[in-house]
């Protein structure tokens, strides 16, 4: 979902750039306040894993492909602030080193693929965890739901940006239907890969998962009671 240069007009791209810089600065400040240095390797690993997974396009219907976006995965693993930072690094590296995603569209891409999934997506994950049992299955169900929704939300964010400053002449309703249609399918892939990954970490090092903190206590509690 990397937007190239020239899809949106200059004003919208610059405005998005300003918003993205502000959000990144806030994330760095938050990381400075809340984060122990010991979280740095895990956050680096999350960025490296998401970069790698984003290279693996899988086919979806109608001659289209999709790949993991990874913003929700990152937020579940290291929390929304560090998760958004990890995704921002990935997007900047992709744009500047691999010419993927326009340099002028970097702000738009950071909003859509780092901050929307890491915050809106993580918010939904948090809500889902509140109504689901504090167990592995509960965490994985919340992950699947939020991962799927995060892709649909990112597609909606692009549609909104297109409505504000798109250079194409297509009606917004057409773009919305097309974007949501294909990203519902890609979202299923996102949910699958994200849930498998979180499941693998839950099975090996559940203590490393920011979004699974409740179940650790639960497990200790039942271990004490048993």
């Amino acid at each position: 979902m990397h937007i190239p240069d020239g899809f949106l007009d200059a004003q919208s791209s610059i405005a998005a750039g300003v918003v993205a810089i502000g959000a990144t600065a806030a994330s760095l400040r938050q990381a400075g306040r809340d984060t122990l240095e010991s979280r740095a390797p895990m956050t680096g690993l999350v960025a490296a894993f998401v970069f790698s997974a984003q290279m693996l396009n899988f086919p979806v219907a109608g001659g289209t492909s999709g790949h993991l976006m990874g913003g929700l995965l990152a937020a579940v693993l290291v929390g929304p602030w560090l998760g958004a930072l990890a995704l921002t690094t990935v997007l900047v590296v992709q744009s500047l080193l691999f010419a993927d995603g326009g340099v002028s569209a970097l702000g738009l891409n950071v909003i859509n693929m780092a901050f929307v999934p890491a915050f809106a997506g993580y918010g939904l994950f948090w809500l889902a965890r509140r109504v689901l049992p504090a167990s592995r299955i509960g965490v994985m169900t919340a992950t699947a739901f939020a991962a799927f929704t995060s892709v649909v939300l990112a597609a909606a964010a692009f549609t909104l940006e297109f409505a504000i400053g798109g250079n194409g002449a297509a009606p917004v309703s057409t773009v919305a239907a097309a974007m949501l249609g294909v990203h519902v399918l890609i979202g299923v892939g996102e949910a699958l890969i994200t849930t498998l990954t979180v499941g693998a970490v839950l099975a090996s090092r559940p203590d490393l998962i920011h979004g699974a903190r409740g179940i650790e206590k639960q497990a200790q509690l039942s271990a004490v009671q048993a």
Binding site: M1, I3, P4, D5, G6, F7, R29, A31, G32, R33, T35, E37, R39, A40, P41, M42, T43, G44, L45, V46, A47, A48, F49, V50, F51, S52, A53, M55, L56, N57, F58, P59, G63, S65, H67, L85, T89, V90, V93, L96, L97, F98, A99, G102, V103, F158, F162, N167, G168, A169, A170, V175, A178, M179, V182, H183, I186, S204, R205, L208
Partner: protein
């Protein structure tokens, strides 16, 4: 953390180096929608199209699978290093809050305990 880190990086490196060559080369969701609806009328070529790893391809390598794989390895190492450095530097740049100093003392304590616990 260390074995987990090594295993995680190994997974990322192997999938970037080996699996990436089998990735679908069909347009992604946005590219397809853009092409179908002429959203790309204003599209300009990427400013860094001539970069050594542009389009996830190591320019100096002839074999396409290897060229993609090497670009992937460069990307995995770069994203890991930059993110690690960024978060490390941000968490070191200490704002002078009292919660911070109390946490720092717990951290020092746990650091002191760690070698004893692991050896």
């Amino acid at each position: 953390m260390s074995w987990f880190l090594v295993a995680g990086l190994a997974v990322a490196l192997v999938s970037a180096f080996v699996v990436s060559r089998y990735a679908s080369s069909q347009p992604d969701g946005l590219e397809k929608v853009a092409a179908d609806n002429a959203l790309d009328t204003g599209e300009q070529p990427h400013a860094l199209d001539g970069a050594p790893f542009a389009d996830y391809t190591a320019r100096s390598v002839d074999d396409p699978g290897l060229a993609t794989g090497l670009a992937g390895v460069v990307g995995v190492i770069t994203t890991f290093a930059i993110t690690l450095g960024l978060v490390w530097a941000a968490s070191r740049a200490s704002p002078r809050s009292s919660s911070r100093s109390s946490r720092r003392s717990t951290r020092c304590r746990s650091n002191r305990n760690r070698p004893a616990a692991t050896t």
